[in-house]
């Protein structure tokens, strides 16, 4: 949440748009915002893991639309050639902003089928079935860890809400499409499954929802005390000159001095 606010506790120090966060400790790589560029990077990361004799694996996710990028082809080619321990996921949520997955060729052949051309197992899974996603990911991870190579997983799902806060999906798709979408809400489906097994109840679910809502609201409130874009403590703008290089070169030192001397606006 601090990252979304670009505040004094933002791990990106105000250099990235909301949700482009990362966690070194959590092994979550920096998100770039360019589409599919990180797919072949994950392959390289996985190759290095194999080179070092470690059993770590890399996983990357892209959308249906961005399978059309050349990086998709690079990732699958390099993953196949070097048998990299990587899980390549395509989250096929049907919509790339306003264009249906057909514009990436998804209605001709499933995205999972792209794997076959590269000699990579391609699996299509009901992306709204928590247990199916879990099982297939486990299987792919086991393959990666045991040196059996990469796996391509297509998660068939649906983008129920807008692409972003500035997007209005009613301009390009029927308003009621979401209700007609047959795969259902993945949380509701998992909940029903657990209730049927006798492992969960409506009451427990409601309590958990309340707890999580409160956790989110409290976290937001706390995050705001570390600054929002308009109020409270703020980052020192001159930090923009840091981390361009490991050590700041002369021309950046000079520009930083100039910025500080001239003040803002």
């Amino acid at each position: 949440m601090c990252q979304c606010l670009s505040n004094t506790r933002d791990m990106c120090k105000g250099r990235q748009m909301p949700i482009m966060y990362h966690s070194r400790e959590g092994n979550l790589f920096s998100i770039s915002g360019n589409l599919t560029t990180q797919y072949p990077q994950a392959v390289g990361w996985a190759m290095a893991s194999a080179m070092k004799g470690e059993d770590n694996l890399a996983a990357s996710w892209i959308g249906d639309g961005s399978t059309a990028e050349p990086d998709f082809h690079h990732a699958l080619t390099f993953a196949s050639v070097y048998q990299a321990p990587v899980i390549l996921n395509v989250v096929n949520n049907q919509w790339a902003i306003s264009t249906f997955q057909a514009f990436a060729g998804g209605t001709r052949e499933p995205f999972a089928a792209r794997g076959l051309g590269y000699g990579i197992p391609g699996i299509r899974v009901d992306g709204n079935d928590f247990l199916a996603v879990y099982a297939v990911t486990q299987w792919a991870a086991e393959r990666a860890r045991t040196g059996a190579g990469p796996t391509l997983i297509e998660h068939v799902t649906y983008r129920a809400s807008a692409h972003s806060t500035s997007d209005d999906p009613s301009r390009y798709r029927p308003k009621e499409e979401f209700e007609a979408w047959p795969l259902g809400d993945p949380i509701k489906r998992l909940k029903q499954h657990l209730i049927q097994l006798g492992e969960w109840s409506d009451k427990q679910h409601e309590d958990l929802e309340k707890e999580l809502d409160k956790h989110a609201a409290d976290s937001w409130k706390e995050a705001c005390t570390y600054g929002t874009m308009s109020e409270g403590p703020s980052l020192d703008p001159s930090n923009m000159f840091e981390d361009v290089f490991k050590e700041m070169p002369e021309h950046l030192k000079k520009q930083r001095e100039q910025m500080l001397a001239e003040g803002d606006k």
Binding site: C12, P40, M47, A48, F78, Y82, P249, E250
Partner: protein
């Protein structure tokens, strides 16, 4: 000390890097079993193994992307792009990913990659084997851009680049791989053994990135140049008798402004020479810098001698290539102004 041409010097640098650091890997098209189209990696796969010297698919974007992933996971990849003319499919990975990774993650992730790529003309390479795209990369914040002009610098700067924790795009002027070139294609080729910078230590040493070198002391005018054109400029000064001070920039980004300033303040006249096209090129940055730093010392408008603003023409290479005559004309222009 040993006699080395630029290819042998680069090979020696990579050999040492592979021997000293188990995390260094080489990767690129034809660089492994075959040893590279210019032989820069010859014998290195045989010596260091297929897992250290990787032949890659023909996909420059994929090479740089996987190198980034490896770099983030603790490796120190040296990627070869076979010709600078082929670097554009990797442009997005270099500009949007490699150059910004450290900044966008506030220092939590970085990829210490060196991208080696042969550049420049004079080899009858036509428009797809002759380009000088350094100015496209110097415009990008977050990468270092260098171009050595001799075997000694090539080895020392490549070791600096590989050991650097920031990404470095390392341009190799291929016309002078085998010997210095004075701009006259009709003269017999001259080997590096006839040049003092063909003397190269066999062991490890570095030449720092960010430092220019004065290759000829002079008082009448300053020539700022790099790569192949260093040698053409030296020949132009010699044949014209003009007492020019010649600066080999070596490191385009970061730029050694101090050396430029001191020289131009001394001579008061400045000619900028590069093979690349002129408009919006790196020479414009040099010119602007000299103007900002030395305006009150300048006795004449700064001259630029560059490739023409056309695609590199195969059959008219020597009309395009900025040779001695054009450099001498520019020197006369600044001296007579």
């Amino acid at each position: 000390m040993a006699q080395m041409n630029m290819i042998q010097a680069l090979n020696s640098a990579m050999d040492i890097a592979l021997s000293n650091d188990p995390y260094v890997v080489l990767m690129g098209e034809d660089i492994g079993y075959f040893g590279g189209v210019f032989r820069c990696t010859e014998g290195l796969q045989r010596k260091h193994g297929e897992h250290r010297v990787l032949d890659t698919p023909i996909a420059e974007g994929g090479i740089v992307a996987t190198a980034i992933g490896m770099g983030v996971n603790g490796m120190r990849p040296v990627a070869e792009i076979q010709f600078a003319d082929y670097i554009y499919p990797a442009f997005d990975q270099i500009v949007s990913e490699l150059a910004r990774l450290r900044h966008r993650s506030a220092g939590d992730f970085y990829a210490p990659i060196t991208i080696r790529t042969p550049c420049g003309g004079g080899i009858r390479g036509g428009q797809t084997h002759s380009q000088s795209p350094e100015g496209i990369f110097t415009h990008v914040s977050g990468i270092k851009v260098v171009m050595p002009s001799n075997p000694y610098d090539a080895k020392g700067m490549l070791l600096s680049a590989i050991e650097d924790d920031d990404p470095v795009v390392f341009f190799e002027p291929k016309r002078i791989y085998n010997g210095p070139f004075d701009g006259d294609p009709d003269k017999p080729a001259r080997p590096w053994s006839t040049h003092p910078k063909g003397e190269v230590p066999e062991g490890h040493y570095t030449v720092p990135i960010g430092k220019a070198e004065i290759v000829r002391q002079g008082n009448d005018a300053t020539i700022i140049t790099y790569g192949t054109m260093v040698h053409v400029a030296e020949a132009a000064a010699a044949s014209s008798g003009i007492d020019a001070e010649i600066i080999d920039v070596r490191s385009m980004a970061p730029l050694d402004v101090d050396t430029l300033r001191t020289s131009v303040q001394k001579t008061g006249r400045c000619v900028i020479v590069h093979e690349a096209t002129r408009f919006g090129g790196y020479g414009a940055e040099l010119s602007a810098t000299v103007q900002e730093e030395c305006f009150w010392h300048l006795e004449a408008p700064i001259q630029r001698v560059t490739g023409w603003d056309t695609p590199y023409p195969h059959a008219f290479e020597w009309e395009y290539f900025p040779g001695q005559k054009r450099i001498i004309n520019a020197l006369r222009a600044v001296l007579e102004a």
